[in-house]
């Protein structure tokens, strides 16, 4: 690692400043080497990999089910969304579809995760730019969202809630009532955050016309999610290639026009409202029925049967100790997670583990836009730009 502060002989006015990997405003272990001419950023070079755990390699030696907990640890602000994405990818490989009740519960999970992730983004992004109050508002409500997730999955962070062919367990009526309270209360809370920022002069001056990402650049760089939509491109996997029954819900895809930090702020804020719309519709119609496929070769049999029937006991033993077989083939399956398009490219040669598992991480590609957005701007805006791209380094590095 080069020294944190360096002046070169040929350009005495240009200094090299090291930012991160342990910096409160980089939202994780992101390191950026900045070349500065006064306060102007001449060059920004991101360095990633500090959280690399080799998940793609690990996957080649794990059964499909054993890999699921790793998906919690990618985007740790919305583990439920990655759980669903991975389960859907393996289900696409198997060619199975889960029952309607399971699909609705998965939609509830995904949209709850989106709101939770956006609450962290908004609180920390505003805090980075000196608007500390917002943080306390959003983290109060994020706590509420975590209580819901704890009730649902038994864990706050490492949810591991989905299974290939279903979910870990059914939801109870008490949880649905609690979620209904949350959905009813949140629109007012979002108005509170808005009141603090949307017409705040300091916020406007820090975000408008700063870190502008044009649509053509965003597409070429592979930027997805709210950061792409803020540049005016209506790209959302939930609409383009609906999964888990998203085609049943009425919701809009907010887009921006300028592609600046302010637009990315408005888009994510509106996305929270749209998520609440989806949650509202989904809660009105949670169908009865099973929450998993009835395929004893893929999904664990009910415990009651395992304890009384030899056949089910054997199925449970096989799935737990060895995993299930997948056919030879390959699928690329995408879901719209809070950060953008999360794709799992699963290559199977048959057998119980993937031959190759590639994770197309939205944060990875979104972060590649950082130099473009920072160069030519002010050093103080680097922090605003990072916050507006909303990277999670667990997902960048995998």
């Amino acid at each position: 690692m080069p020294p944190t502060y360096e002046r070169s002989e040929e350009h005495p006015d240009v200094i090299t400043l090291n930012m991160g990997p342990s910096h409160p405003a980089t939202h994780g272990v992101l390191r950026i080497v900045l070349r500065l001419d006064g306060e102007t950023v001449v060059k920004a070079t991101p360095h990633i990999g500090y959280l690399h755990r080799g998940m793609e390699k690990i996957a080649e030696n794990r059964s499909y089910l054993q890999f699921l907990p790793y998906t919690d640890r990618m985007d740790y602000l919305s583990p439920l969304a990655a759980n669903v994405g991975f389960a859907l990818a393996v289900e696409a490989l198997l060619g199975i579809r889960v029952p309607p009740r399971c699909e609705v519960i998965r939609v509830l999970c995904c949209e709850l995760a989106r709101i939770g992730s956006h609450l962290v983004w908004l609180g920390t992004h505003a805090l980075d730019m000196g608007a500390g109050t917002v943080f306390f508002h959003t983290f109060r409500d994020r706590e509420w969202h975590y209580d819901l997730i704890e009730h649902l999955t038994g864990a706050r962070l490492t949810t591991s809630f989905t299974r290939v062919g279903g979910i870990a367990r059914d939801v109870d009526a008490a949880w649905l009532r609690k979620l209904r309270d949350f959905v009813d209360a949140m629109p007012r809370r979002i108005r509170e955050y808005e009141a603090l920022l949307t017409k705040n002069t300091i916020w406007l001056k820090r975000t408008r016309g700063v870190g502008v990402l044009r649509a053509a650049d965003a597409l070429s760089l592979g930027v997805t999610g709210p950061s792409l939509r803020a540049s005016g491109v209506e790209h959302d996997v939930r609409k383009l290639r609906p999964y888990s029954g998203y085609e049943r819900y009425d919701f809009e895809i907010p887009t921006g026009s300028e592609g600046d930090i302010y637009d990315r702020y408005l888009v994510r804020l509106e996305e929270m409202r749209q998520s609440l719309r989806i949650l509202d519709q989904a809660l009105r119609d949670v169908p009865d029925g099973p929450v998993s496929v009835e395929d004893p070769k893929v999904f664990l049999p009910p415990k009651r049967k395992v304890l009384t029937s030899m056949e089910e006991l054997i199925h449970q033993f096989m799935i737990v100790t060895e995993g299930f077989e997948c056919p030879a083939g390959e699928v690329f399956h995408s879901t719209e997670v809070p950060k953008g398009e999360l794709g799992f490219y699963v290559v199977s040669t048959g057998g119980k583990a993937p031959y190759r598992l590639r994770i197309r991480s939205p944060s990875f590609h979104n972060l590649a836009a950082l130099p473009l957005l920072c160069e030519g701007g002010l050093v103080a805006d680097v922090i605003a730009v990072i916050g507006s791209l909303d990277p999670v380094l667990g997902e960048v590095d995998r």
């Binding site: 290639r241 590639r358 590649a368």
Partner: protein
Amino acid sequence: MADGKKAIEALRGRFPGAVVSEGSFRDQHWAVLRLETLVEACRWLRDDPAWAFDVLLDATAAHWPDDPEPIELIYHLHSTARNDRLRIKVRTADGAEVPTLSGVWRSAEWAERETYDMFGIVFRGHPDLRRILMPEDYTDFPLRKEFPLYRG
């Protein structure tokens, strides 16, 4: 949805001999291209308004050590105008240099750096081919199949 099927037919017409083979699974289609035609074909797929594959969602590789051409490069294309997807693949020998696609889609820059980092594949013409996830002084390529999962 038959993703990519028509685009592969068009590729065969526009670049005779370029498509070595094609395959499909669960209605997702892919074409294996000859290495020499990769960049030209991709630029055409991006620029021709009939196809308009304006996004390279991801670029990666897979290692098949028992195959005469053990390196497989995989590109996932998306068209925002037509909501279509296409998978392009290339097979090559171990240690062969392959052309970069970073001149066609900028998202290839980081994706190819990761492919280099994990498989040791060298991309000719890449503007900044450095390791991206592993440390700079690291010497192995972890996603190659001979890389051990355990050091016992």
